[in-house]
C-alpha cells in the first residue's frame, strides 16, 4: 500500500509545476498495468491529500494502460494481461515488455492563484 506515497509525490510535482496555492481542477495521470499502483486506492489518497493541501476538490483522471509487449520469437506487438498466454502470432510465451510501467502526470488543469 504505497499509494499514499505516490499521491504525495503527485501533489509535490503539481505544486512544483503550477505553484503552491493554485486551485487545481484536475490532474490527468497515465497509469500502466505494471506500475504496481492501485487506481482506486490512489484516487482516494490523492483526493483527500489535494483538499488538505489547499488545491481544492481536485479530480484525478486516470488513463489506465495495459501492458504492451513484443514477442521475442516473431516480433509481434500485442497487449496482454496474461504473459504465459502466448503470442497471438506464433504462440510462444517470451516477451519484451514495451510499456506498462507508466505512472506519469499527463496534464494539470488549474486556476492561477489570485494576486
Amino acid at each position: 500500500m504505497h499509494e499514499f506515497s505516490i499521491a504525495t509525490e503527485i501533489i509535490a510535482a503539481v505544486e512544483r509545476t503550477v505553484g503552491a496555492g493554485a486551485r487545481v481542477q484536475s490532474v490527468g495521470l497515465i497509469l500502466g498495468s505494471l506500475s504496481g499502483v492501485n487506481a482506486d486506492s490512489l484516487t482516494f489518497c490523492f483526493t483527500e491529500l489535494a483538499e488538505s493541501c489547499g488545491m481544492g476538490r481536485t479530480e484525478l483522471v486516470i488513463d489506465a494502460r495495459p501492458a504492451r509487449v513484443r514477442c521475442r520469437e516473431c516480433g509481434c506487438d500485442y497487449e496482454t494481461g496474461d504473459f504465459m498466454a502466448g503470442c497471438p502470432g506464433c504462440g510462444v510465451a517470451a516477451v519484451e515488455i514495451v510499456s506498462g510501467y507508466e505512472c506519469d502526470i499527463d496534464t494539470i488543469t488549474y486556476e492561477e492563484p489570485e494576486a
Binding site: H2, Q25, G36, I97, D104, T107, I108
Partner: protein, 232 residues
C-alpha cells in the same frame, strides 16, 4: 502546450511521478560509483531469507560489504548483520512498505563508507513484492529473492517486480527435497517476461550455489571499479 477553459488552463506535463525519486537515485548511483561500490537492492517477501543470505555473504565478503537494512520496525536485522562483521545501517520506515531513494541517500550520508575497504553496498528492502519495485534506489543490481517455500507460481503474480530484476535468486534450495517447488517453472516464467535475468538456485544455510552468485557479484564489482578507475 496550454489550453484555456474559462479561467482555468490545462498544461501538458508528461512527467513521471517518480521524477524526483529517480533524480536522487541517480545521485546515489553516481556517489556509489565514485566510491567504487556496487549497489544491490534485494527485494522479496517477508521471511524469504534476505537477512540469512546477508549473514552468509558476510562470511565471504567480511568488512568489504556494507548493508542498509529496511524494515517497518526494529533494528533487529542491522544487529544481525553487524554481528556477522559488516557495517550496517537500519532504516525504520515506521509504516511505509518500501524504501525510496531519499531514505537511501540519508543512510549513505550517515554511514562511514570507506572506498579503500568497502566494495558492496547491499540494500535489504522492506519485505514486500509490490511496492519496492516502483522505487529506483540508485542500485546497480536489482535482485528478486524467491524462496522455495513460497511456491513456484509467484513470478507471474508479481510481474512488476520480476520483469525488472537483474538477478533471480531461488533460495532455501536445501528444502527442495521436502517441497513440490518446480525451479524450472519459476525460472522459465521469469525469463518469459525478463529476457536478461540471471538466475541462481542457492541455499544460504548449506552454501549450495553460493559460489556462482559470488562470481557474479565479483564481476559486477570489477566492472564498477574499472569504470571508476577509468574516470580518474
Amino acid at each position: 502546450m496550454m489550453e484555456t477553459q474559462g479561467t482555468a488552463q490545462t498544461i501538458k506535463v508528461k512527467s513521471p511521478v517518480m521524477a524526483k525519486n529517480d533524480e536522487i537515485a541517480a545521485e546515489n548511483r553516481a556517489r556509489l560509483e565514485r566510491l567504487g561500490l556496487v549497489g544491490v537492492n534485494i527485494m522479496s517477501s517477508p521471511g524469504s531469507g534476505k537477512t540469512t543470505l546477508l549473514e552468509t555473504m558476510a562470511r565471504r565478503y567480511g568488512t568489504s560489504m556494507a548493508v542498509i537494512e529496511g524494515d517497518v520496525q526494529t533494528s533487529r536485522d542491522a544487529e544481525r548483520v553487524r554481528s556477522a562483521g559488516c557495517l550496517a545501517h537500519q532504516i525504520e520506515t515506521r509504516g511505509s512498505c518500501h524504501l525510496d531513494a531519499k531514505m537511501v541517500s540519508d543512510a549513505l550520508a550517515a554511514m562511514p563508507i570507506n572506498p579503500a575497504v568497502h566494495r558492496l553496498l547491499i540494500v535489504e528492502n522492506v519485505g514486500n513484492l509490490i511496492c519496492p519495485s516502483s522505487y529506483d534506489l540508485g542500485e546497480h543490481l536489482r535482485i528478486g529473492l524467491l524462496s522455495v517455500t513460497e511456491g513456484d507460481d509467484k513470478v507471474l503474480k508479481y510481474p512488476a517486480l520480476f520483469s525488472r530484476i537483474n538477478v533471480l535468486l531461488i533460495s532455501k534450495s536445501d528444502l527442495l527435497p521436502h517441497l513440490e517447488f518446480d525451479t524450472a517453472r519459476a525460472m522459465e516464467e521469469c525469463r518469459a517476461i525478463n529476457a536478461h535475468v540471471d538466475a541462481f538456485v542457492l541455499s544460504s544455510r548449506t552454501g549450495e550455489g553460493m559460489d556462482a552468485f559470488y562470481d557474479y557479484l565479483d564481476a559486477a564489482v570489477a566492472k564498477v571499479r574499472a569504470g571508476r578507475d577509468a574516470a580518474q
